[in-house]
């Protein structure tokens, strides 16, 4: 499908889902990334991990399927698919930290040109700090995808030369999916994989980071 306008959140989730390899083990962060599950094609063989101790998590539970002993990392009741397994927190985070997950999809406040991630703290002095699994997830997969709008409500870019918010992880993001473009983070900088209702030149005008067109 050709997108000639900025993506809706659902369209963005579908684009991320499209790029997840068949049979991949994937952790979807809380919030927007959760939507990706709804767009995985039948037969994708993708296995969802939730860091509170489960592989092959199913969709959100409704009605009689709600079980207080079965939730995802956002503490929302979920279901179990055949072939699931349960494990404790040390094993679950060992699985992430050890690089066994193929893909992790996270939200972000900011991503830097070198793949630094800021998604846990706005730096506001009166905020109660709370990190959860964010820092473990940031370094916890072979590929870390970020999903976010490219600009905040005031029009400020969230893909930046250097993060101004406190970091979650350093040089950990491999790809950034936004409503107007998808960026690869590589050793030589950012490249634009595709655009939605914009052009690389327009992006160059609005961002303070160097952009290449993706090869191939």
């Amino acid at each position: 499908m050709v997108h000639d306008k900025p993506l809706t959140p659902d369209q963005l989730a579908a684009i991320v889902a499209r790029d997840i390899p068949e049979g991949a083990y994937v952790n979807l962060g809380i919030g927007q990334p959760t939507k990706v599950a709804d767009h995985l094609p039948a037969g994708s063989g993708v296995v969802l991990h939730t860091e509170n101790g489960m592989l092959n998590m199913g969709p959100a539970a409704v009605g009689d399927d709600v079980d207080p002993d079965l939730t995802n990392a956002g503490k929302v009741p979920v279901t179990e698919l055949p072939g699931a397994s349960y494990f404790h927190h040390a094993d679950s985070f060992a699985m992430m930290r050890g690089g066994h997950l193929d893909v992790c999809v996270l939200g972000a406040f900011q991503v830097s040109a070198t793949g630094d991630l800021a998604n846990w703290h706005t730096g506001a002095p009166d905020a109660i700090p709370a990190v959860g699994g964010a820092m473990d997830l940031a370094i916890g997969a072979k590929q870390v995808f970020v999903m976010m709008t490219l600009f905040d409500k005031k029009g400020t870019a969230k893909l930046v030369p250097e993060c101004t918010y406190p970091l979650t992880g350093v040089a950990c993001v491999s790809r950034v999916y936004t409503d107007v473009a998808v960026f690869d983070v590589g050793p030589s900088g950012l490249s634009v994989r595709e655009t939605f209702g914009t052009t690389i030149d327009e992006l160059r005008e609005r961002l303070y980071v160097p952009l290449e067109a993706a090869a191939g």
């Binding site: 503490k75 927190h89 040390a90 930290r97 109660i128 700090p129 959860g132 699994g133 964010a134 820092m135």
Partner: protein
């Protein structure tokens, strides 16, 4: 067999917890939280506690009730702030409770290290972030790590699904979460379970926490609160 004691009441189970103790409290949000043990701890009266738990309480039940009763001096957790963590929020903002925020995986691994006799370990989590400030760093095989130390409990209060009379435990679904790790990391591990079964009833291949880690067991009906909040 072994030295696990099966007790009649939650009050007996938490007897002897001293003021100033470090108490590991199981549960991820409300799943796996040992409500009866926490309520008994409130009645028991120990104060000036350091609590290690993933969250800092939801609503006014469980851990939140312990905080509300003014028994907690310090919390180590990964995610205090939730949609319904108003008890903690109020204590924190008014300077009546200390907080150490620990990334969730480091929290689990630091307790695992305590239980496994590891003196310290190099973790890649939090490198280059404010939570690594002041900690020893090292580059090993081209990757950066932060040195993390064990978190040991004087007591662990955890919930499990079933115990046999030797204290062998099985859990249920994602309520397993921190229970098995905390059971290894505390000097005295106290467990509330939905059911106590005779020795030989649990499949030896499927025991998650062997009885060697379990000191006291009490049966208690599960109390479930479904709260949907941020982690």
């Amino acid at each position: 067999m072994g030295r696990t004691r099966i007790l009649e009441t939650a009050d007996e189970a938490v007897a002897g917890i001293e003021d100033g103790s470090t108490v590991l409290v199981g549960g991820f949000g409300l799943a796996g939280m040992p409500f009866d043990l926490i309520d008994a701890l409130i009645r028991q009266g120990a104060k000036d506690l350091t609590i290690v738990s993933n969250n800092a309480g939801n609503g006014e039940v469980g851990l939140a009730a312990l905080l509300q009763a003014g028994r907690v001096r310090r919390v180590l957790c990964s995610f205090p702030r939730q949609s319904d963590s108003y008890v903690f929020d109020e204590l924190y903002r008014s300077g009546r409770i200390e907080l150490e925020v620990v990334p969730q995986g480091n929290l689990a691994e630091r307790m695992r290290a305590a239980g496994a006799g590891i003196g310290a370990f190099f973790s890649p989590t939090a490198v280059g972030t404010p939570l690594a400030e002041g900690k020893e760093q090292r580059t090993i095989d081209g990757r950066d790590y932060v040195l993390e130390h064990p978190i040991k409990g004087d007591y662990a209060l955890i919930g499990a699904h079933r115990a046999d009379e030797m204290g062998n435990l099985v859990y249920r679904k994602t309520a397993r979460n921190f229970g098995p790790v905390m059971a290894t990391a505390a000097s005295t591990t106290i467990v509330q379970v939905g059911e106590v079964v005779p020795i030989g009833s649990l499949d030896p291949e499927a025991v998650v926490t062997p009885g060697i880690f379990v000191d006291r067991v009490v049966r208690a009906d599960a109390r479930h609160y479904t709260v949907q909040g941020a982690r």
